[in-house]
């Protein structure tokens, strides 16, 4: 029997049992749909987060407390403002290249509006080093830092929420109950907030010194260094290490490049994606067991047909192939519909929810490949059983 003929026979049999075929397909359909959808969400999260890190500009070095072991949990920082200044003095050229901050969360209040936002107590160079642009007004100055002036630069969302329909420049507001004057508004970064990271427009920048007073600390949570070129990243890293080592122990700080962070975060999210895919894969497996089950029922129902076909000249191979093809067609159709629904679902999620979703080529190939493979694997047992039926016994059965 030719492959085309076998396919036609398989289709005939599946169409003869429409409802059952459809229900059997459903298991695989749901499995494939979940694989595609969950992988899309995982992948979307990954590109959003790595995108956000890349959005900070290029050739950045992050100086963080602790020895850089992510498994160790948060460390108490030993950085002080003087460290920023000492690093700045040692680095050559390129204008403002070092910044530091202390981060906190406070209630902001202005003219009856209230908002809880991220407060970034920063050195004057922070916007330049981390590629944040000013939309209106002016930024924080060295003099603001030196005098611990209570001035604030608002993120775009913060400005809109606290001062709806008004120009916030020159107005006063309270940060954690302390009066501040708004001097500038940052340009919108966009992307909104997602469950995977803070909204970069929902924050406020204050001079590091006044912020430290607000938080009751003299430490910095992190220091950022921008290298002038990719080639000088390592040289700058050596400088930062040398300067900090004069005052701190090696395990009190680590200097990590932007690429390293993207790599680590990307790896973590890739694992997350794979775990999601594996969980969805289990439902695909269950769908496969369903296919196997129904194919066994089908074989036992069609015993007489199998006996007849053998009497008419079908070889064991022809019968096996026929039933295997039926299983593959079932799972293939389920896979194709599941894929379509998965892609549609991912687009719906991306459009409606704050969760990004990104359908990738590999998840499509995987889903289709796996669904056909499921048909093959779970179809083999019933198909072999069909092929090996004794025609005499099969014909006798009523």
């Amino acid at each position: 029997m030719s492959a085309r003929e076998a396919f036609r026979v398989a289709m005939q049999a599946l169409i003869a049992n429409r409802l059952r075929s459809a229900l059997t397909t459903l298991g695989v359909l749901i499995g494939v749909m979940s694989v595609v959808l969950l992988v899309a969400i995982g992948q979307g999260a990954r590109s959003e987060i790595t995108g956000a890190i890349e959005g900070l500009g290029s050739n950045l070095l992050f100086v963080l407390p602790g020895d850089g072991d992510f498994g160790g949990g948060p460390r108490r920082s030993s950085f002080v403002l003087d460290d920023v200044e000492r690093i700045d003095r040692e680095l050559l050229g390129g204008g403002t290249r070092v910044a530091g901050y202390t981060i906190g969360s406070e209630v902001l209040q202005a003219e009856g509006e209230r908002l809880t936002a991220t407060v970034l107590a920063v050195t004057a160079g922070y916007p330049a080093v981390l590629s944040r642009e000013l939309a209106r007004g002016q930024g924080l100055t060295e003099s603001d830092v030196v005098t611990a002036r209570r001035v604030a630069v608002l993120g775009a969302t913060t400005a809109e929420t606290l001062f709806p329909g008004q120009d916030p420049i020159g107005r006063t507001m309270a940060i954690g109950g302390v009066r501040y004057r708004v001097v500038g508004v940052l340009a919108r970064v966009g992307g909104g907030g997602s469950p995977f990271g803070p909204d970069q427009d929902r924050n406020v920048l204050v001079p590091i010194t006044s912020g430290q007073r607000l938080f009751g600390t003299d430490r910095l949570d992190a220091i950022f260094v921008r290298a002038t070129a990719t080639q000088t990243v390592e040289a700058d890293r050596a400088v930062v290490r040398r300067v900090l080592a004069q005052r701190l122990d090696a395990e009190e700080f680590s200097v990590i490049s932007q690429d390293e962070i993207i790599g680590v975060v990307g790896d973590i999210l890739q694992i997350l994606t794979l775990v999601l895919a594996a969980i969805a894969g289990i439902s695909l497996l269950v769908g496969g067991v369903g296919v196997s089950n129904i194919m066994l029922v089908s074989v036992s129902e069609r015993t007489r047909e199998i006996g007849l076909r053998k009497a008419l000249g079908a070889r064991t191979r022809d019968i096996t192939r026929q039933f295997l093809l039926e299983a593959i067609v079932l799972t293939g159709i389920g896979g194709a519909i599941g894929l379509a629904l998965g892609i549609a679902g991912a687009q719906l999620v991306a459009a409606l929810a704050p969760v990004p979703a990104e359908v990738t080529g590999w998840s499509i190939a995987l889903a289709l490949g796996v669904s056909v493979a499921v048909g093959l694997v779970f179809g083999v047992l019933p198909a072999r059983r069909a092929g090996q039926l004794d025609p005499v016994a099969a014909l006798r059965r009523d």
Binding site: M1, Q12, A311, L312, A314, R315, T316, P391, V392
Partner: protein, 238 residues
């Protein structure tokens, strides 16, 4: 009807030589169904195999149809011992040399008459169009030119058996094996079916082996083999 009594070896289609078929029931119980049966069927022969229930008729039919192999002895087709042929070769033998007609027709209910007749042709080379043409010709030959697109459920018992006969003939077999072909039909329809089988046997020089428990059917054959308790009681030699 030629009667098929030809002495030369080239006329010999199949030969059963001391055929024994024993079924095992459980571990130690052996039930002999055939206990040494020998006979020959020539090309164009018309043979009736008669016997009561339990005489070994069905077992013999399965062996002649190469759906089964003998426990000992030989069934030889065109001089080849069936026991030595692999399964795929037996399948080919059934497809190319043998046409089956069953008591209960064995049509696939979801297929139309013409698709039922096409069934044996899908297991041999050929285009879809050729198969269809052959199936339509076979249906026309059994008088069902106007019932091609009907499904078995829409046909009478006699018409269903005609479809089954068309299916047996569409491959132009050397042997038609009919197992109680009139068993599920009324007397008149049964007569018609037998007449149809006989006309085909005569016109196409196809050997016809009819298995029956009805003496009036058996008497129509050129030769009768009577089975009793697994052995030939009468008519082993032509």
């Amino acid at each position: 009807m030629s009667g098929g009594v030809a002495a030369d070896a080239s006329a010999l289609l199949l030969e059963a030589i001391d055929v024994v078929r024993t079924y095992r029931l459980g571990r130690d119980v052996e039930v002999p169904a055939l206990r040494g049966v020998s006979f020959q069927v020539d090309h164009g022969d018309y043979v009736a195999i008669v016997g009561s229930s339990g005489s070994g008729k069905s077992t013999l039919l399965n062996l002649l149809g190469v759906l089964d192999r003998p426990t000992s002895g030989q069934v030889r087709y065109d001089g080849r011992d069936v026991r030595e042929l692999p399964d795929a070769e037996l399948a080919r033998l059934r497809n190319q040399r043998i046409g089956f007609v069953f008591q209960s027709f064995h049509l696939l209910p979801r297929l139309t008459a013409v698709d039922n007749v096409i069934l044996p042709l899908v297991y041999r080379p050929g285009t879809k169009r050729e198969r269809r043409e052959r199936a339509e010709a076979a249906l026309a030959a059994v008088g069902l030119a106007d019932r091609m697109a009907h499904r078995p459920g829409e046909l009478s018992g006699g018409q269903q058996q005609r479809v089954a006969i068309a299916r047996a003939l569409v491959t132009e077999p050397a042997l038609v094996l009919a197992d109680e072909p009139t068993g599920n039909l009324d007397t008149t329809t049964g007569e018609d079916i037998m007449a149809l089988l006989e006309s085909i046997q005569a016109e196409q020089d196809t050997a016809l082996v009819v298995i029956t428990h009805e003496p009036e059917i058996a008497h129509r054959a050129a030769r009768t083999i009577v089975l009793r308790d697994g052995v030939i009681a009468d008519g082993s030699s032509p």
